[in-house]
Amino acid sequence: MNDKMNETLNAPEAKAEETAGMAAGKTADGSENLLDVRDLTVEFHTDSGIVQAINGLTFSLTTTALAIMGLINCPPGFYKSGEIIYKGKDLMKISESEYLKIRGREISMIFQDPMTALNPVMPVIDQISEVIKNHKHISAKEAREEAIEMLKVVRIPPERADEYPHQFSGGMRQRIVIAIALACNPNLLIADEPTTALDVTIQAQVLEMMRELKDNFNTSMIMITHDFGVVAETCDKVAIVYAGEVLEAGTKRDIFKNPCHPYTVGLFGAIPNLNEDTEFLYQIEGLMPDPMDLPKGCPFAPRCSCAKDICHVEKPCVSRLPGEDHVVKCHKYTGSDENAEIVNEEWRDE
C-alpha cells in the first residue's frame, strides 16, 4: 500500500512550518533549540485501510501542529517515524499524563476558526480559567482573577467576562482564544491561521497584539499562514511547505528577497501587488498532488515550469544557499554544506 503522508522537515535546523517567529525564543540551555522537529512522518488510515487524503497546504501544516501538540488521534493517525524534541525531550515518547502537563502550559495553540474553537455553552471566563486551574492547581476564585487579568491583556472589558461566545464579535472571539492560549504563559505558541477568518482592520489589531504579547511574554511562535503579508509582519524565519515537505527555508530576508525554489517564486508572483499594475497574475498551473498518491520525485514537479526529467523520478536533496540558514530542496541547485549556491548545469543557460 502506498500510504504515506510525509511531513518531513529535513532542513538541518528547521524549527517549524511555513513561518516561524523564533527570535524571542528562549532556550532551555542556551545552545539547544527550544523545539526541533526531525524527519517527522505521520500517516492517516481510513476505514478502507487507505491513507486519509490531507489536501491542501494548510491541512498538512495543521497536522504538524497537531502532532507537536500531541493531538493526533490514534487511529486513524499514526506517528511513523521522526522526533519532536522539545527542550531536549522527545515528545513522541512521553506518556499522555506527561503530555497533559506540557499541553496548554508550555506549548499552546491558537486555532484558525474562533467560532468553533470556543465552547458555545460556557461563559468565556470559565474557558480561560479552566486552563489556569488545571495547570496551576489554584482555587477557582484565584483562577478567575487571573483569567480576568488575561481578558484585560487582550483588551476585552472585564464586565463582559460572564458572557457567552456568541455575544462577541469575530475579532473579540479570536482574542479570547488568544487569551486562553496565553493564560499559562507558554514557551511556544502555535498559531494556525489566527487571522484568516478576520477582516483586515481586525486582523491588524490581532497581529499587533500578538506581536506585543510575544515580546512581553517572551514567547516563541510558530505562525501557520498562507498570507505573505502576515509573515512579513510577524515572523523572523520562514519555511515554505508543499505537500508535507519543506521545500525552502531561511530567514525572512532570504525568502522575501531571494526566493529560490520555483514554488516560492510562483507564490510571490501570485499575490496581487499593491504597488504594481499587472494585467494577469502569475499563475501556478494545476493543483496540489493527492497525498495518497504523491509524485515519485519532487512533489512540485508536475506543476513546475522548469522541471526536467530528473525531477519526476528522483527526490531532490537539501542544498544550502548563501545566507544564514537558507536551504532549498530542488534539483536546480546542487550544493553541500560548504558550497555556496551552485545552479545545476542543466539549468544554467536559463
Binding site: N55, G56, L57, T58, S169, G170, G171, M172, D199, V200, T201, I202, Q203, A204, Q205, L207, E208, H226, D227, F228, G229, V230, V231, A232, E233, K252, R253, F256, K257, G266, L267, F268, G269, A270, I271, P272, N273, L274, N275, T278, E279, F280, L281, Y282, Q283, I284, E285, L287, M288
Partner: protein, 318 residues
C-alpha cells in the same frame, strides 16, 4: 445607446427586523455602473456588502429604493419577468463548500439553470453546453459525474463559476469568490474571471474585503461602512489618495510583503458600532481619530471632491 446607465442603484435600503429593533444592513446606497466594467465593493464583514450584492441579484427584497437595470426597476419584477431577469444577472458565492448542493453531481449543478430557463431543449444540446462551460472554466471532462465533496476548494469554486456562466449572463455579482482559497488557486480564479470578462464583456460587481485583490481586479471601488457608502472613486485614485479616515485605516491595515519599507500603521481602535438602531451621527465616529462635534450631531452626506471622487465625511483628508 440609451441615456440610462447600465445599472443604477438609488436610495437602496434593507432593514432586517430583529427583536431589538431594525438592523440597518444597507442604508441609502446610491451608485451607477457602466456595462463591461468591474466595480469593487469593500468593507468589513457585517457592513452590508453581501446584502447589497444579494439584492442586486434579486435574492433578497429591498426595504426601500430602486435598482435600475438599463432604466428599468428590477425590484418590481415578478413571475415571468423575474425569471427572465435571472438569465441576465447571476451570482458567484463566497463559500464553495456550502453553495453547492452536496447531492447533485457537477453535471446536474451546471445543467440545472439551463433546464429551468429552457435555454436548450434537447438533451444533446444541454450536454454540449455543460461541456462547453466546463472547458471554459478549466474543469476537466472527467469531473462531470462527481459530487462536490470529491472536489477540492479551487475546483469547487470553478463549478460555482460554471453554474453562474451557464446562462451567459450580462452582470455577475461575485461575492468574495476567492476569500476561501489559497494564493496559488486565488490567482488562477482571478485570471479566469478576467479572461472571461475580456472574452464576453461581462460586468462584475466584485465583493471582497481583500483590498489588494480589488486593486488588481476592479476599475472603480465603493467602500462601505455599516450599511453606508463612505467613499467611491476609481481604483487608482482611491489607493493613491484615500480621503475618508476609514478608507485610510483600511488601506494601512493591509499587511505588506515589502519587508524593507515597514509602513506606519493606523490601527482602527474599537469595535464596529451596532447596526441595530444606529444613532443619527457619522457611523464611523466611534472609531475615527479625527472625530469632531459635527460628526456627532448628524450624519455626513456623500459629496463630490475632484472629478469622480465621492466621500462622506465632514472633514475629508487631503
Amino acid at each position: 445607446m440609451s441615456e440610462h446607465p447600465y445599472l443604477e442603484v438609488r436610495h437602496l435600503k434593507k432593514y432586517f427586523m430583529t427583536p431589538n429593533g431594525p438592523l440597518h444592513a444597507v442604508d441609502d446606497v446610491n451608485f451607477t455602473l457602466e456595462k463591461g466594467r468591474t466595480i469593487g465593493l469593500v468593507g468589513e464583514s457585517g457592513c452590508g456588502k453581501s446584502t447589497l450584492g444579494h439584492m442586486i441579484a434579486r435574492l433578497l427584497d429591498a426595504t426601500d429604493g430602486e435598482i435600475l437595470l438599463e432604466g428599468d426597476d428590477i425590484l418590481k419584477y415578478k413571475g415571468r419577468k423575474l425569471k427572465d431577469l435571472r438569465r441576465r444577472i447571476q451570482i458567484i458565492f463566497q463559500d464553495p463548500f456550502s453553495s453547492l448542493n452536496p447531492r447533485k453531481t457537477v453535471y446536474n449543478t451546471i445543467a440545472e439553470p439551463i433546464i429551468i430557463q429552457k435555454m436548450y431543449k434537447s438533451k444533446k444540446e444541454i450536454e454540449d453546453r455543460v461541456f462547453e462551460i466546463m472547458e471554459l472554466v478549466g474543469l476537466a471532462e472527467r469531473y462531470v459525474n462527481v459530487y462536490p465533496h470529491e472536489l477540492d476548494g479551487g475546483r469547487r469554486q470553478r463549478v460555482g463559476i460554471a453554474r453562474a456562466l451557464a446562462l451567459n449572463p450580462e452582470l455577475i455579482v461575485c461575492d468574495e469568490p476567492v476569500s476561501a482559497l489559497d494564493v496559488s488557486i486565488q490567482a488562477q480564479i482571478l485570471n479566469l474571471l478576467k479572461r472571461l470578462q475580456q472574452q464576453f464583456g461581462y460586468t462584475y460587481i466584485f465583493i471582497t474585503h481583500d483590498l489588494s485583490v480589488v486593486k488588481h481586479f476592479a476599475q472603480d471601488v465603493l467602500v462601505m461602512y455599516l450599511g453606508q457608502l463612505v467613499e467611491q472613486a476609481p481604483v487608482k485614485e482611491l489607493f493613491a489618495h484615500p480621503r475618508h479616515p476609514y478608507t485610510q485605516g483600511l488601506l494601512s491595515a493591509i499587511p505588506s510583503t515589502d519587508i524593507d519599507n515597514v509602513k506606519e500603521r493606523i490601527i482602527l481602535k474599537g469595535e464596529i458600532t451596532s447596526p441595530i438602531n444606529p444613532p443619527d451621527e457619522c457611523r464611523f465616529a466611534a472609531r475615527c481619530e479625527y472625530v469632531s462635534d459635527a460628526c456627532r450631531q448628524k450624519a455626513p452626506q456623500l459629496q463630490l471632491l475632484g472629478e469622480d471622487h465621492l466621500v462622506s465625511c465632514f472633514s475629508p483628508l487631503d
